[in-house]
């Protein structure tokens, strides 16, 4: 949005854009004054706990709850059939993933359980402990059924079909064909093939999923204090399935203790909590404990991908082919579906490179494991690991430096706008500039010299790269077109109070990544008010504009632009008043540091607080035909491009102890291009935190299952996430290629770290082990796998 002088938000004086201002809401959290859903305590509040299925596939023969019902402190006990009367089942299918299918899913299991951890009975009691006591008194008789656990055999003829209405366990299949793949492979000088595996992992937000549901039968109003990323989406879903009016559902989402995608989905236990509140007419709290979180939160990844690349002797990529298989549990997750990860993999593979021939098949299968759905960097680590693993292998096969091969094939920075091989539009990317910047940061020659020297001493170090594209700022093409009530647009309201302060409401939500800080900085810049005079409200459907929330790296790019627009309207409106009071043309005035100033010389004319005072208390001094508007609401969604792609390039340096199989990360570098950087420190820390979650997937995290579909490491001691000692310092660099869709030019930055780190680690690991002529492609890369590959076991 360019103003009458041809200036954009980037030309504002005293800009807070590009400044590492401390996050306004962090002070509160540092003093223990956060307000999370579990901190909410309401009059007459009771607690619900769930009996969960111990089996992965069984018929429920009988549920005996009499003893539990009469146990101390118990208020009510409900099974799946009871709650199905209050809350309708859902179907986790989006229509734009053509051919996808998934049967209706009840809140609690009805007649049959399909994964270990599926909720079966809800017990409501005075305290959580009493509810758990009563759960021990419930007897459920199960009849075990044959299982479909391993996704690799889920489609076999002799495998149990989980849903009898279907002929097999296929949920969805996608095929992509671009160019003439077979001809290109026939032409290729070198063809390299490999199978890559990605362990099933989960989000492990430190604050588990939490909800307090408070139904007031007088108003037929349901207030939900929920730890979520998408309040308006949840509002729509609760309304639909509990048959309530949407405007009589209020989602209050105060502080959220980490989300990473897993709090953007509908969960039976949370809906059961709301349904029970509706039945009982009193507040009900559910806080998932850590053990049940491992069974009941969505899981992620779990892919096997066969990849194939054909290159010319000169290193030109001629064709890529992938065949991806993923297991998603017994249901596609509502409302986003469990097809998106495969969809992304098909879309993103080969993303940074110019090549014409591409074939992809993605298959999504049902199995008796917990539902799998979108988690940070959906699909990216897989597409990128496959692409960059193949590129690395191809470079090695033609004896070319892999970074040179990447540079040779990258779409040139001046060749954008462009399209991916399968036709997805890409607006403005900077692979070349980012790679150049990375190579300036990484002392590559020194690392290689040291590598040679150390190998002679029996020390094996490796260096690995990964280039990538990342989906951010998704438009309606992501979910809305598929029928899901998920808004692609966001809104921002800016209200000038009577003392010249701004009360700002945003529909994006804060989970710690700095969303409120971004909004505050953008509004401060757009209006000319200092951040100390700005209060940002988020996470309340009753007090913020309608919007999507914060997921898919969309908050800054979409919510931030709405804030920039709303701020501009308020500035103009204030200056209209100032023009009248100062008898000046509004377009000769500006606002800086809370003062109306002359645009020409910056001289202060009057304070914004004084304008507030006049507007609110002395409207009689303004002309009769003038009405001041001191509140503005603006909305925004990306219209020209379905997504604002960003790009990034990583480098990992590590050391492998070939006697123990231990991998020590020495350093990690990432250059990413998220367009306009609003708060550099926040962005750097988003990338660092993201890299560490990528490290988790690459080296540590895996939900380990046995053949009976039983999770073997469902606790925090046995499920390993990366911790402080084992992590390297992470160096982050930026290139800023703005999106021209918005005035702000910001794209997302939340997922590039997670997206690229696993591929860089894999390539560095295989580089380190080059002298042994072995290759690891099955994540996580545990010491066991390293030593097996080295033939030491």
């Amino acid at each position: 949005m360019v103003d009458s002088n041809g200036l954009s938000i980037h030309d504002r004086p005293n800009s807070y854009i590009g400044r590492s201002v401390p996050r306004p809401n962090l002070s509160r959290l540092l003093k223990g004054r956060g307000s999370y859903a579990d901190d909410v305590k309401l009059p007459r509040m009771v607690h619900v706990a769930f009996l969960r299925s111990p089996l992965a596939h069984a018929d429920i023969v009988k549920i005996e709850t009499d003893k539990a019902s009469s146990a101390s402190g118990v208020i009510a006990v409900y099974n799946g059939k009871d709650l199905a009367k209050v809350c309708s089942p859902w179907v986790g299918v989006v229509t734009h993933l053509e051919g996808m299918r998934s049967p209706p899913q009840n809140l609690l299991a009805v007649d049959r359980v399909r994964w270990q951890g599926e909720p079966v009975v809800a017990v409501v009691a005075q305290t959580r402990a009493l509810a758990e006591d009563a759960i021990e008194l419930i007897e459920v008789k199960y009849k075990e059924l044959p299982l479909a656990v391993d996704m690799k055999t889920a489609l076999d003829d002799d495998t149990e079909v989980i849903h009898k209405e279907y002929e097999n366990n296929l949920c969805w299949e996608r095929n992509v064909n671009a160019g003439d793949v077979d001809a290109a492979f026939a032409e290729a000088d070198v063809i390299v093939e490999e199978e890559f595996q990605f362990g099933r992992h989960t989000g492990v937000t430190l604050e588990s999923r939490s909800i307090v549901a408070d139904y007031d039968p007088g108003e037929e109003m349901l207030t939900l204090y929920q730890s979520t990323q998408a309040p308006h989406m949840k509002q729509a879903l609760f309304a639909k399935h509990l048959e309530l009016d949407e405007h009589k559902i209020r989602i209050i989402c105060r502080d959220v203790g980490g989300a990473f995608g897993l709090k953007a989905h509908a969960y039976g236990d949370e809906f059961a909590t709301a349904a029970i509140s509706k039945i009982l007419g009193r507040p009900v709290k559910f806080v998932a404990d850590r053990m049940e979180s491992f069974l009941a939160d969505i899981h992620a990844r779990d892919h096997v991908v066969k990849g194939k690349i054909g290159v010319s002797k000169a290193g030109k990529i001629l064709a890529i082919e992938i065949d991806d298989l993923t297991g998603i549990g017994p249901y596609s997750v509502y409302p986003r579906s469990s097809g998106m990860e495969v969809n992304q993999i098909c879309n993103l593979t080969g993303g940074p490179y110019k090549f014409d021939n591409y074939r992809a098949r993605g298959r999504v299968v049902f199995q008796n494991k917990p539902p799998m759905c979108q988690y940070r960097a959906v699909g990216h680590p897989i597409a990128i690991t496959v692409t960059e693993g193949l590129v690395e292998m191809a470079a090695s096969a033609i004896d070319m430096e892999s970074i040179e091969m990447r540079k040779l094939n990258m779409v040139a920075d001046d060749d954008y706008p462009n399209k991916t091989v399968s036709g997805i539009p890409l607006e403005n990317l900077s692979h070349q500039a980012s790679t150049d910047k990375l190579m300036e940061m990484v002392n590559y020659k020194e690392i290689r010299d040291e590598q040679k020297k150390l190998r002679k001493e029996g020390i094996y170090r490796g260096v690995g790269f990964a280039a990538l594209i990342e989906v951010t700022n998704p438009g309606p093409a992501f979910y809305g077109v598929g029928g899901a009530p998920i808004s692609a647009q966001d809104g921002c309201s800016v209200k000038l109070d009577a003392k010249g302060n701004l009360i700002v409401g945003t529909s994006i939500t804060e989970q710690g990544q700095g969303a409120e800080s971004v909004i505050s900085q953008v509004v401060a810049t757009a209006v000319g008010i200092t951040p100390d005079k700005i209060k940002v409200i988020s996470g309340d459907t009753e007090n913020t504009p309608y919007g999507g929330g914060t997921w898919a790296s969309r908050g800054t790019g979409i919510g931030g632009e709405a804030a920039a627009k709303a701020g501009k309207v308020i500035r103009d409106n204030v200056l209209d008043v100032a023009g009248i009071l100062l008898q000046s043309e509004p377009n000769t005035l500006d606002i800086q540091n809370n003062q109306v100033v002359n645009k020409s010389d910056g001289a202060e004319r009057m304070s914004v607080a004084e304008i507030s005072r006049v507007v609110y208390y002395r409207g009689d001094t303004l002309p009769k035909d003038f009405q001041a508007e001191m509140m503005a609401v603006q909305h925004y969604f990306p219209k020209s491009y379905p997504f604002a792609f960003t790009n990034s390039v990583h480098c990992c340096h590590l050391e492998v102890d070939v006697n123990t199989g231990f991998i020590k990360l020495l350093k990690h570098w990432a250059v990413e291009d998220c367009g306009t950087v609003i708060n550099p420190q926040n962005v750097d820390d988003q990338v660092r935190g993201g890299v560490v979650q990528g490290i988790g997937g690459a080296l540590y995290e895996e939900c380990i299952y046995n053949e009976q579909g039983q999770l073997l490491n469902g606790n925090l001691a046995d499920y390993l996430v990366p911790m402080a000692v084992e992590l390297p310092d992470i160096v982050v660099g930026h290139v800023e290629s703005k999106t021209f869709e918005s005035d702000l030019g910001a794209k997302g930055a939340g997922e590039a770290g997670t997206a690229g780190a696993p591929a860089a680690i894999m390539n560095a690991l295989n580089d380190a082990l080059m002298p042994f002529d072995v290759r690891l492609t099955r994540q996580p890369f545990t010491p066991q796998k390293v030593l097996e590959a080295l033939g030491k076991l």
């Binding site: 758990e132 404990d289 053990m291 402080a724 000692v725 010491p783 066991q784």
Partner: protein, 284 residues
Amino acid sequence: MKPSNFDYVKPKTLEETLTLLGDGGRDSVVLAGGQSLMPTLNMRLSAPDLLVDINGLDELSGVKLEGNQIRIGALTRHVEVENSSVIAENCPLIALAMPHIAHPAIRNRGTFGGSIALADPAAELPACICALGAKIEIVGPGGDRKIVAKDFFKDLYETDLKDGEIVTAVEIPVTSSKTKIAFDELSRRHGDYAMAGLAVNAIMEGKKIENISICFFAISATPVLAEGAAGILNNGILDDDSLGKAIQQLESDLDPLPDLYASRALKMHYAKELLKRNLESWMS
């Protein structure tokens, strides 16, 4: 999860404690540091009727040098052992092991005796006291007794403790000027239970080895003394040949149990690797 309910009592004397534990009608459990007991209660893996909190028994706490023995009271917190100059000077093996035990907040509560009585196969201290030839002091309804550490650990979380008995202290012989020790463990993350660990205690003069005890942890159901390997090294010169033979002997000495992250073969490999890299460092 929250624990099942239980009664709680905090006796003031050892006699009172034994009386409470001796009440055969109730399933009672000693609460010392609680750092392993509490998680099992919180997960409802165990649901005792009564918790007997022994944290009021001050006489069970403290590190003392008594002649050529160090006596570590069962209630002595890990942090106190970690910071003890008596331990640092007279029992460096324990001093080396302490920082590997979990994390500071855990070491502030966890107790020496608790770690011994729990007998977690991956814990550091049971292996150390086996390698050191320590004795465990036990008090129970039948009176006092002492047992050599290696005889105390019977099976997975199973010890020689009888109903109503508690560990009161551990006696460790002080080291001599010729004592040579090694402590090492392999864990994925700092403070985690080890995938494999080793505690070695020996007398070394020049390259001659005497009285070597080699104890592995996180390999089998209990700490394991590699007696065959020790036999090969004892009263001999430590060199590549003897070490090689001792390492090979581990194939017979050890019967590793696989866990989530380590197969039997990996455990064996790690045992050999630990012995190799630690004793090689003695040669240089």
